[in-house]
């Protein structure tokens, strides 16, 4: 399990440029491997910073739910795996190895992102919020429960995150905008009707009080 980093002074250093936007993890790994290596001895051993392409594990510092964690990870480790297996933040679910289900939705700098579409190493220096970080967001959680917008519950955290991401951007979405924003999330039990009712209610309330 990851250790919480005691030093937060390094945080600003990891402001590396975004290699990839919106591509899947497999592509990201390929691009990473092909990137130019500019590692210098002065930077010390195996700390993943900009333009550094190591092959083995190195230190990755993630800011999750307002806390800093220092992890030893290979660059191929996805954000989803790091969250679930290294930080034991298992509310973000792994439904599959690609990005078609949305159960792995987290917020990165306030925007919904599929944790399986990002390598952990490229999420350094960003503010990552998982479902555990939204646990006190009573309004949205209570609305899901009130409308029974969940059955087995495995897809539910992903829907909560996707809806929170939508409402962050657009506090009063229309039914069509809700369908579109939640269209990347899959449910098998059949909770869509409850989720729609919940989202429409929040769309009416959000920001009004």
């Amino acid at each position: 399990m990851g250790q919480e980093s005691q030093s937060s002074g390094d945080k600003a250093v990891f402001n590396r440029r975004a290699f990839l936007k919106g591509s899947g993890a497999a592509m990201a790994a390929g691009a990473w491997a092909g990137a130019e290596t500019t590692s210098t001895a002065a930077e010390g051993p195996q700390t993943f910073k900009k333009n550094l392409v190591p092959s083995g594990p190195g230190e990755v510092i993630l800011n999750v739910n307002g806390k800093e964690y220092a992890l030893q990870l290979e660059p191929r480790v996805t954000l989803l795996e790091a969250l679930r297996n290294d930080l034991n933040l298992t509310g973000t679910k792994e439904v599959e190895e690609t990005t078609a289900a949305g159960a792995d939705t987290v917020l990165i700098d306030g925007k919904p992102v599929l944790a399986n579409s990002r390598l952990a190493v490229e999420c350094q220096g960003k503010q990552i919020v998982t479902i555990e970080g939204l646990a006190s967001d009573a309004e949205i959680i209570n609305s899901f429960v009130k409308h029974d917008a969940l059955q087995c519950g495995f897809c539910t955290p992903g829907f909560v995150m996707a809806l929170r991401g939508l409402l962050n951007k657009n506090p009063h979405p229309s039914a069509e905008e809700i369908d579109s924003a939640l269209g990347g999330n899959l449910c098998r039990c059949g909770t869509y009707a409850g989720i729609k009712a919940c989202a429409l209610e929040l769309a009416r309330q959000e920001g009004d009080n």
């Binding site: 078609a100 029974d148 059955q151 087995c152 495995f154 955290p157 869509y192």
Partner: protein, 713 residues
């Protein structure tokens, strides 16, 4: 005098039962705090991944794992198939690698060398003639009643048609899998994603040569099952063996492709039908050839289910299973019923069109052949009102909207037994008034904890949060598997019985302490009353129990009216089809569902919504596609195996069919029935819209356009 009988309260006296109650574990699920098997990360846990067969049919010529064993991070490898063994489908497990991290397990898999002798596969499940030529047919028990041939000769009208419905997967969001941990090398603790908590310990103990008492199964939450999660599974046993070998906990969840190919499939069914009726549309004879399959066993659906829900006196169905190189069949929500409805109530709808009859009239006319004509007639009336059938239905192919859009209405109906499974429960009442209940059941998504809590809280007339519900451990009193919609009745009956007995014991203590006649006592809103007058409150009453808690065990099902069997439902759909693109849009979809005593209105409605959405899925979107050339399941991923998204479902209306009479029947299972008639309902609506039948489900745009192409102008 209050009689001590095992029964539910009169309907009007319920405070909680039958009302909409939020799930007691809803917040845990919505906040990600609920721990599923896939989430178990005990210290030192290893991660396992599977190497599966890339071939539909092959013999293993060489299998070399030494190199893989020395891959960094790999701790152990379990070989599932040996040299000389035949793999029988694409996706069958060949080896499982346990490693320090998932990525190391994948490294290990890549380092395993397997050489296959590829054999000739057969995967064409729709093609009966090809199957016969290839000698892949598996004749099954024929159903033959009355005199079909003679009746067809004298029938006023005969409709002949071809109908089909493809193999679909269970597609549980949480894949099948287990987390296994040994203690002292002798006791095994398994977190298993299972709908059968009480029935799986022995499935580990026997093959692993353990005492059953040394195996504990835990499943606090599971991410869907739908009939596919009753067994330990070879993945569960592999995880246990890898954990024993390494001395470390092992978590092995199937990857999505393997999950779809191997862990849960519902058989396809295809049928050539002859349906005869008299001039008024009364069905007189059914004659059908039936085939389909999922796997090498080669079984299609049960012939006796045809024609579905309508017992036509003269009927014959000749079934042939087809042996194909596909993954094994598992029970899928209402096993065989959705296929049977899709093959036969479509034919009824086509017969109505041939007779220029409104299908509503044809179904109505034939209700005498169903188990409960009055029920269905009333449900049809309600559904028709909800969907405004009289205003909106037009003869087939005549409801033309703007441009290429066509509108249509369709209906179908279904039946289900819904009996309660066998279960035991333990209720413990403490002196401080708190209550615990224990049962080895599971929450497959129906809200098991909540209905148990409602049952107990309603009986004691105490707040729901005073009842702690414990399920999900094989060490609790045994509960049946969650299959066949048996859980609600299975757990509520024993809990009602045990809670009543506990309450009666508390009444006896109160009677003695307060010098009142025990037979005059009732519980109401936290108080114990004698002939309606308060005697003491709940906590004062339970304080009489003393430091040793009161324990009562309850069993079920019993023939005392707490649970019952047999429900029916009617569904109607209103769709718009674009005849240029073949795209189907659901405008409205209505379900009227009989359900006996409702425990929790909120989750009862959710079950019906869920069934309808799963029905939309197999009617319009999902199918396993086996490629004839390679034999592979080519859409075994979530991009290409299509499922409905939130914007695809249209407006759904759920009407729980509920009267004092249905309440008095007792609890009946509700999970399966609403998924049954969706395929036939939506297919009938589409046929009504576009003027021709789309014979095979799912009705993809391609199939809609193909049907239109073959249609008379």
């Amino acid at each position: 005098m209050v009689e001590r009988t095992y029964s539910w309260k009169p309907r009007a006296e319920n405070e909680l039962l039958g009302t909409p109650v939020e799930r007691i574990d809803g917040v845990a699920k919505a906040t990600g705090q609920a721990k599923y098997t896939a989430d178990i990360n005990t210290s030192g846990t290893l991660f396992a991944r599977a190497l599966t067969s890339p071939h539909a049919y092959a013999r293993i010529k060489r299998l070399e794992i030494e190199a893989a064993k020395s891959v960094s991070g790999v701790k152990a490898i379990k070989v599932m198939m040996n040299v000389g063994d035949e793999v029988l489908w694409d996706g069958q497990l060949v080896a499982v690698v346990a490693a320090e991290r998932p990525e190391f397990a994948l490294d290990g898999i890549r380092a395993i060398e397997v050489e296959y002798e590829v054999l000739e596969h057969f995967v064409d499940e729709e093609n009966l003639e090809e199957a016969k030529t290839a000698d892949k047919q598996n004749p099954q028990k024929e159903e033959d009643r009355g005199d079909v041939e003679q009746t067809l000769k004298s029938a006023a009208v005969i409709h002949e048609g071809y109908y089909g419905i493809h193999t679909v997967t269970h597609m549980c969001m949480e894949p099948h899998g287990a987390h296994c941990e040994w203690h002292d090398d002798a006791k095994l603790h398994v977190h298993l994603s299972t709908q059968n908590v009480s029935g799986t310990a022995s499935q580990f103990a026997t093959p692993l040569e353990l005492k059953a008492t040394d195996v504990t199964i835990s499943c606090d939450y599971l991410g869907g099952g739908f009939g596919s999660k009753f067994s330990a599974g070879e993945w569960g046993l592999a995880a246990a063996e890898l954990a024993r070998e390494t001395g470390r906990p092992v978590r092995f969840m199937l990857d999505r492709a393997t999950e779809l190919k191997t862990a849960g499939l519902r058989p396809s069914a295809f049928s050539k039908v002859k349906l005869g009726a008299d001039a008024d549309g009364n069905l007189v004879a059914w004659d059908a050839e039936l085939w389909g399959t999922t796997d090498i066993e080669g079984k299609t659906i049960a012939a006796k289910l045809l024609p579905y829900a309508f017992k036509v006196r003269n009927h014959r169905t000749q079934p042939t299973g087809i042996k194909i190189n596909g993954g094994p069949e598992q029970a899928w929500r209402a096993p065989h019923h959705p296929q049977a409805a899709a093959l036969s109530q479509t034919a009824m709808d086509d017969l109505a069109a041939k007779l220029n009859l409104d299908p509503y009239q044809l179904f109505l006319k034939n209700l005498d052949k169903t188990w409960n004509p009055e029920l269905y007639a009333d449900q049809m009336r309600i559904a028709a009102e909800l969907i405004e059938w009289d205003q909106n239905w037009k003869p087939r192919g005549t409801n033309k909207l703007d441009g290429s859009l066509r509108r249509g209405l369709g209906m179908a109906l279904h039946e289900w037994t819904g009996s309660a499974h066998s279960a035991t429960t333990l209720i413990r009442v403490h002196a401080d008034g708190t209550v615990e209940t224990f049962g080895g059941s599971q929450d497959i998504g129906t809200g098991t904890r909540t209905i148990i809590g409602i049952t107990v809280a309603e009986t004691f007339e105490i707040p729901l949060d005073q009842v702690q519900v414990n399920i999900g451990s094989s060490k609790y009193p045994r509960s049946g598997p969650s299959g066949g919609s048996s859980t609600s009745g299975g757990v509520s009956g024993p809990n009602r019985r045990a809670a009543l007995e506990a309450l009666w014991k508390i009444f006896d203590l109160v009677a003695s302490r307060y010098q009142v006649d025990a037979s005059t006592l009732t519980a109401q809103q936290g108080k114990i009353l004698s002939n309606g007058n308060p005697v003491c409150n709940w906590n004062e009453a339970t304080s009489l129990i003393g430091p040793m808690p009161l324990e009562v065990q309850g069993e079920g099902p019993k023939r005392d009216g707490l649970t019952s069997i047999d429900v029916g439902g009617v569904q109607m759909a209103d769709v718009t089809v674009d005849i240029e693109t073949g795209k189907i849009k659901i405008n409205r979809f209505v379900a009227v569902q009989d359900c006996g005593t409702i425990l929790n209105r909120l989750t009862a409605e959710s079950q019906v919504y869920g069934g309808m959405i799963m029905g939309i899925s197999y009617a319009l979107f999902e199918e396993r596609i086996l490629d004839n050339k390679t034999g592979r399941f080519i859409n075994a991923d979530l991009f290409n195996y299509k499922l409905p998204r939130i914007g695809d479902i249209g407006e759904l209306k759920v009407h729980l069919y509920e009267t004092d009479e249905t309440y008095a029947r007792g609890v009946i299972g509700l999970g399966e029935p609403p998924v049954i008639s969706c395929g036939a309902t939506l297919s009938n609506a589409v046929a009504n819209a576009i003027g021709v039948r789309v014979p095979v489900l799912p009705m993809t745009p391609a199939r809609v356009l193909n049907a239109l192409e073959g249609a008379p102008a």
